[in-house]
Point group: C2
Chain length 221, copies 2
Amino acid sequence: MKLKKMEISERVVQRLTEYLSILKEVRKQYNEINSIELAKIMNTTSAQVRKDLSTFGEFGVRGKGYDIDNLIEIITKILGIDKINNVIIVGHGKMGEMLSSNLDVLGEGFKIVGIFDKDKNKIGKTAANNLIVQDIQNVDEFIKNMKNNSDTRIEMAILAVVKEQAQIAAEGLVKSGISAILNMTTYKLELDKNIKVVDMDISAKLQELNFWRINNISEKI
Amino acid sequence: MKLKKMEISERVVQRLTEYLSILKEVRKQYNEINSIELAKIMNTTSAQVRKDLSTFGEFGVRGKGYDIDNLIEIITKILGIDKINNVIIVGHGKMGEMLSSNLDVLGEGFKIVGIFDKDKNKIGKTAANNLIVQDIQNVDEFIKNMKNNSDTRIEMAILAVVKEQAQIAAEGLVKSGISAILNMTTYKLELDKNIKVVDMDISAKLQELNFWRINNISEKI
DNA sequence: TAGATTGTTAATCGATTAACAATC
DNA sequence: TAGATTGTTAATCGATTAACAATC
């Protein structure tokens, strides 16, 4: 799939993940959908739906709409979750445990292939997904051993350490070859700009929500 | 604090939560900061920092910059986390358990005052934070009993049920008086527009991250 | 006062939307 | 063909940034 490089905005990618989730839901009842119906569920305009999708190609049929299965397949490919992407979990506290024990939370397309912690009491224990928690000191060797086979290669990490360890842990991961980090800590990582970081901060989201609640003004969409 | 209603964008509020997190970190070393330094950590421009802050008032000193403690206090107030906001957790699976056992995850300003589930095996058990898991059928009574005292009133819920139950559970909460929901499910809730919803979808964030990784283009800031 | 940095205006940039030709 | 809905262009709207007067 060819993407017009540098021309895709963060917003479009975010909406793409929303479209996918909605389409999977709607598919339970329907085979087809048009931009007007999809826009309604998304709380946006049909023009935006069509524009977003047309960023990646022509997937609709004029006069008819979109085939839902087709759209699901295409978005799945665009997001790279048509194949399994290996992920390691770094930090096996409450958050890390939730991730390794909750089979559904990562969704399709991702597989946890390693769990690391620095706590001697946790190292060696078997997590709910049957992986053994490894010493964070061995993460470099682990990643490098896996990197020569595209099926085992690891480029993504979920960072679930305590805030205080976030920066140093992230730097170590980058040195070992990790190029994408889902940052579950509240620490704002400062890394080389070719490293992709997406932040996932529950307390920040709660703060946002609270702001809108107490100010009782409608969020712009 | 007076806000110019309807004139605050979602982006500004999101950045406000980031400023707060960064300022708390920087405060460990410094007392003051200027818009240039703050912008550098935020990966944005000093103009944006000043514009964002000036949305809410004049907090800086010309020629000097901002007093960090002062800024922290102000943002804390704007986000309404200078007081305790009561929250209930609905759904006590892996995600709900993580939330009720991880003391830090909600951050300051929020307090879990109730945990609800519909699973008979969970109801009556004591969670890690010493609250007893209650039958979801009692949530309406619980919320209504609390609502006449501003210290006990509950307006926020964290929705951590399985996707299939999300819509129906959310509708119930709204009927009981909940006006703000942090939605941890992948289901796109459809509720009255005066109900505030913030989505927190780990799989969606992973998908986003994966997109940027495989396309290796820089996200716009 | 001179130097520095804010707060704000105006210019720019980018994202959303309306409108419509293309076409199923 | 007539009706419907896409894909895309052009217009609009909103957010970001540059620039600078205000002022500490």
